[in-house]
């Protein structure tokens, strides 16, 4: 007589090659998201109002503008939308989220479709709340691009450059050959003709922020030494970003300090620090993102 326990093996999980990849590559399905309802109503209202009728096919996103308390429906298109004093706009980005644009801003739509939604913010402030696959939503500014990796953030653009502040999730800020990943509770900036700055925590000390700024702007190596001394466990992500751009002679001190906060991955070699995309650096980054430092006691 056969062992009945053996029969259980036929209920075993059967892999279906490519199943999860296929599912992951589909746009996320939403469960009763208010944004969908608002988006649908706005789109329907716009069609009813004839916004899309009589003109050649063009890209647009439904947008609600509030002007001194009065609401009106319009569409964000490739033409610049300028918001005056007392005006704000809420753009519904398909089914992935919303963007609120503050008064005094100049914004336009560059692309919208299943593979990417792309806005351009020339000046002013926008607040994005997006739930989407990474890199599906992008905002270009004159100095850098903010690439959504699943998050909520505020982007401000002035003549001095762009400032990205992340409140949830993470955002990539890319420009001039540098890509920095800004985590929730951090900010990074980009100035004209300069690479994005090293991200710093919103609660980092003024001395650390100044040191990072001096290193980013003029490669002041004494500032890098200061940053190593001033960094707290909460600044581990900042130190990680400094590794590939630090002079080789100063990497050892950075690695030692970062190691004191978050252990490097198994098999770590210092040579890996030169390339942020190396598997060892990526593994260390994963550990840093999972790291939850204890709050610094207040005196």
């Amino acid at each position: 007589m056969s062992d009945p326990l053996e029969s259980l093996k036929q209920l075993k999980y059967q892999p279906q090659p490519g199943r999860w990849e296929r599912l992951a590559s589909q746009p996320p399905k939403r469960r009763s998201r208010p944004v969908l309802i608002v988006g649908g109503l706005l789109a329907a209202a716009l069609v009813a109002a004839g916004v899309f009728v009589g003109s050649r096919p063009s890209i647009s996103l439904p947008t609600e503008i509030v002007s001194n308390g009065v609401r009106r429906l319009t569409a964000l298109t490739p033409k610049w939308l300028e918001l005056g004093e007392g005006e704000s706009a809420t753009v519904t980005i398909a089914d992935i989220g919303t963007v609120t644009v503050d008064e005094g801003s100049r914004v336009r739509l560059k692309q919208t479709g299943p593979t990417q939604h792309r806005l351009e913010l020339q000046r002013g402030t926008l607040h994005a709340l997006v739930t989407a696959p990474p890199r599906l939503f992008v905002v270009d500014t004159p100095t850098a691009s903010a690439i959504d990796l699943g998050c909520a953030y505020t982007l401000e653009v002035t003549d001095a450059g762009s400032r990205l502040t992340v409140t949830s999730g993470l955002v990539s800020l890319e420009g001039k050959g540098r890509e920095v990943t800004v985590l929730a509770g951090m900010r990074a900036m980009s100035a004209p003709n300069r690479r994005p700055t090293t991200p710093v925590s919103l609660d980092a000390s003024a001395a650390l922020v100044d040191a990072i700024d001096r290193f980013d702007r003029v490669a002041d190596t004494t500032a890098l030494d200061a940053a190593v001394l001033l960094a707290r466990p909460q600044d581990a992500a900042t130190l990680w970003h400094l590794l590939p751009v630090a002079p080789p002679a100063q990497r050892a001190a950075l690695i030692a300090q970062l190691t004191a906060f978050v252990a490097p991955p198994a098999g770590w070699t210092d040579a890996a620090a030169a390339d942020a995309s190396s598997p060892l650096m990526q593994a260390w980054w994963a550990a840093i993102m999972a790291f939850e430092p204890q709050p610094t006691p207040t005196k």
């Binding site: 062992d3 009945p4 326990l5 029969s7 259980l8 093996k9 036929q10 209920l11 075993k12 999980y13 892999p15 999860w20 990849e21 599912l23 992951a24 590559s25 996320p28 399905k29 739930t131 696959p133 990474p134 990796l149 699943g150 998050c151 949830s168 999730g169 993470l170 990943t181 991955p265 598997p279 990526q282 593994a283 980054w285 994963a286 550990a287 993102m289 999972a290």
Partner: protein
């Protein structure tokens, strides 16, 4: 079968929200998720529930614990089952609608599974992961977050109880 070791690159990328990296990662934990669902839920719905678990995890990538991916997925699976039970307002017992009900071997497997589902919580998942998914005690501990000692005890006592309930020699086949 070797213990599944998630690729650090996929872990990091998934934590950053890379959906395809997470899909690759998930495949390695799929037998464990399947086992957790199979131990507690209706067999005919396990495939749909697995897909739900995958999609829920995708939505929550920012909270992915790279050190404890397995326990994180197992918790999502158990919560999904609770939601499913709430919606159905009942606990599903025997997989009466199983495909292959006319296949004697499959029918026998479903009967044994039904008996496992009547066993205490502490034994159920461990037994299914061992007997259905073919995982070793070490793999079960690695992927569910249980201690190796707990898994060993659960397997020993659970197997003994199961064999008793099946009318088999309780001390036969206790090789784990």
């Amino acid at each position: 079968m070797p213990i599944y070791e998630a690729s650090p690159a996929d872990l990091a990328a998934a934590r950053r929200g890379d959906r395809l990296a997470f899909a690759r990662l998930f495949e390695g934990f799929a037998p464990m998720v399947h086992g957790v669902l199979m131990a507690n839920g209706p067999a005919s719905e396990v495939d749909d529930l697995m897909q739900d678990v995958f999609l829920i995890a995708l939505e929550r990538l920012s909270s992915l614990d790279t050190e404890r991916v397995g326990p994180w997925l197992a918790a999502i699976a158990r919560n999904r089952l609770i939601d499913s039970f709430r919606k159905q307002s009942r606990l599903v017992g025997l997989p009466t609608e199983e495909q292959g009900a006319h296949d004697p071997q499959r029918a026998e497997a479903n009967q044994v599974l039904a008996i496992i589902r009547t066993m205490p919580d502490t034994y159920r998942e461990t037994l299914v992961l061992k007997l259905v998914e073919g995982m070793t005690g070490k793999e079960i501990a690695e992927q569910t977050g249980l201690t190796p000692d707990s898994v060993r005890v659960n397997l020993h006592r659970g197997l003994r109880l199961l064999r008793e309930r099946l009318g088999l020699d309780p001390d036969g086949g206790l090789d784990e």
